[in-house]
Amino acid sequence: MTTRLALGQQSASGARVLHLPADDATLDAATLEGYSKTRRTQARRRKLIRGTIGIAGLLLLWQAMSWYYNLALILPPPTVVLRDVIETLLLIRPQPWLYGPSIYQQLLASFMRAIAGFVLAAALAIPLGLLVGRNRTVREYLEPVIRLLYPIPGIAWIPLAILWFGLTDKAVIFVVFIAEFFAMFFNTEAGARAINPLLMDAARCYGATGFTLVRRVILPATIPYIITGLRIALGGAWRMIVAAEMLAAKTGVGFVLMQARYQFRAADLMMAMILISVVGYGTEKLIVRTLERKTIGKWEISQ
């Protein structure tokens, strides 16, 4: 075997040592763990850099547009808006806050409504989706009804919601519920129908029946689809919150947005939009990614 040279040294044949020749023992578990940690860190850093560049590009485009159009009332430059966001979040606005309770209370109000609608939708859509997916009788009764209601856009439900629930939180929650229900239901149903029949055979042969079958087999098997449904639903929910709040509420980010619009305060309007985006992203990360990590992250089911 060759004698080990130090890095940079020249070997007998004249080649410069660029890599230390590996021992047999270097591919042990610790080293491998080190390699995968490095890869993960590098991937994280790379994604962060590229993502930041993308967003910076957007900001530059925005800045350029606001210079070019010079319409401060419609398109304030990103510097103004970002300062607005920071000042509002740190509660150090020089100009008064004209939108009622503080921004955090408004965000919380919207967030609570989103969560309430989300929980209600999940509580109804997931069991119903599983049932309709696996039970032909139920499917033939319920599917036509649900498919008829599905095309009605969430916004169209708002007047009805106001009629039924008044100008209260409940109306907004109802609209959010409707918007999220269908996404969750259809995804759950698709997942329930897509379960590998062999898995169902195995489940039945190994004694799973009735509710146990649902809880221990059908539900876990459908989880990847359910998570997709949750993700889609959450995205739609935030949009509906804003639309619903603009019409039916006196608190929340949608309300702030509407107020800013009435006062032609474009910077505040865009600030509200940015906050909506950030909170929406944060919620998705919190709920969906956590659920993902605990389920299909562990099981590595490839769908």
């Binding site: 590998n196 062999l198 898995l199 055979d201 195995a202 489940a203 039945r204 042969c205 190994y206 004694g207 799973a208 146990t212 087999v217 876990p220 098997a221 989880i223 389920t295 562990k298 099981w299 590595e300 089911i301």
Partner: protein
């Protein structure tokens, strides 16, 4: 023509004075396909004794898998009787533990949890389940894989977990295996067959093993039921009395294989 081999017989495994565990009497089955009715089984008769390893050997499409699924309770014959310990089969149950061609493990459970699934469903207590699972996993040789998820296991290991899941059901009257190694590559197949035999030696059970592989049948079985091509029935049964584990290279084994091959070719020609 039944070939009888006078070598030693392990007495406790072939207690023929007890009622057969499984009885199939005049089973007829057909199904509707795009091109009309297809007869899968016609006049299928078979008896399986307690404690024996029975192979059902037949060409593709002869109805052997259908027969096994009927035993599992996943299918019902159009005509005929199927009895397990004297009772008619009305559906799937924990008295018949099945291993499919694909492992069919639950991806959200670890290997140990998969193996213990049937026992949980049977109502066993947690510690009893744990003990039995550990037992079975060590018999099957997969103890270190216990806390891994199926995706972390190779195809062969997954199938062994599936076999462990079936074997774990101590009180099952019979183990049903539907060509469990057909989807495994040839090299691993041999090692898996060896594993299976070792398992059976450690804890003997009644096994109904469906296959189209003559080598496999001769290596594994106490008795081989050879089926005709579709529509299938049991044409002949052959006792295999070699000691286990068997040496595939021994000339007697090779001769038996040749004879069985001859029989099957004959059946095919007269089909």
């Amino acid at each position: 023509m039944a070939l009888m081999n006078p070598s030693s017989v392990t007495g406790e495994l072939h207690a023929s004075n007890v009622d057969p565990v499984i009885r199939a009497v005049s089973v007829n089955h057909a199904y509707e396909s795009n091109t009309g009715w297809v007869t899968a089984l016609r006049g299928f008769n078979l008896e399986i004794q307690h404690g024996e390893f029975l192979c059902v050997l037949g060409p593709s499409g002869c109805g052997k898998s259908s027969f096994l699924r009927m035993l599992a309770g996943l299918m019902f014959p159009l005509e005929g009787t199927l009895l397990v310990n004297g009772h008619k089969i009305t559906g799937p149950g924990l008295d018949r533990a099945i291993v499919f061609q694909e492992p069919a493990l639950f991806p959200w459970l670890t290997a140990a949890e998969n193996v213990g699934f049937g026992l949980e469903m049977a109502g066993w207590g947690k510690s009893a389940v744990r003990a039995r699972v550990a037992d079975v996993l060590s018999i099957v040789g997969l103890s270190e894989a216990a806390s891994r998820y199926p995706y972390q296991l190779s195809g062969g290991m997954r199938q062994r977990v599936a076999i462990a899941r079936a074997w774990a059901l101590k009180d099952a009257a019979v183990l049903l295996m539907d060509e469990p190694f057909a989807a495994i590559d040839a090299i691993n197949r041999v090692s898996l067959q060896n594993h299976l035999v070792r398992t059976w030696i450690a804890e003997p059970r009644t096994v109904v093993y469906v296959t189209h592989d003559i080598d496999e049948a001769v290596f594994l079985a106490d008795r081989i039921a050879i089926m005709t091509p579709s529509p299938g029935r049991v044409a002949t049964e052959i006792r295999v009395d070699f000691d286990r584990p068997r040496d595939r290279a021994v000339p007697a084994v090779a001769m038996l294989k040749q004879q069985i091959t001859g029989i099957m070719h004959g059946l095919e020609r007269s089909a």
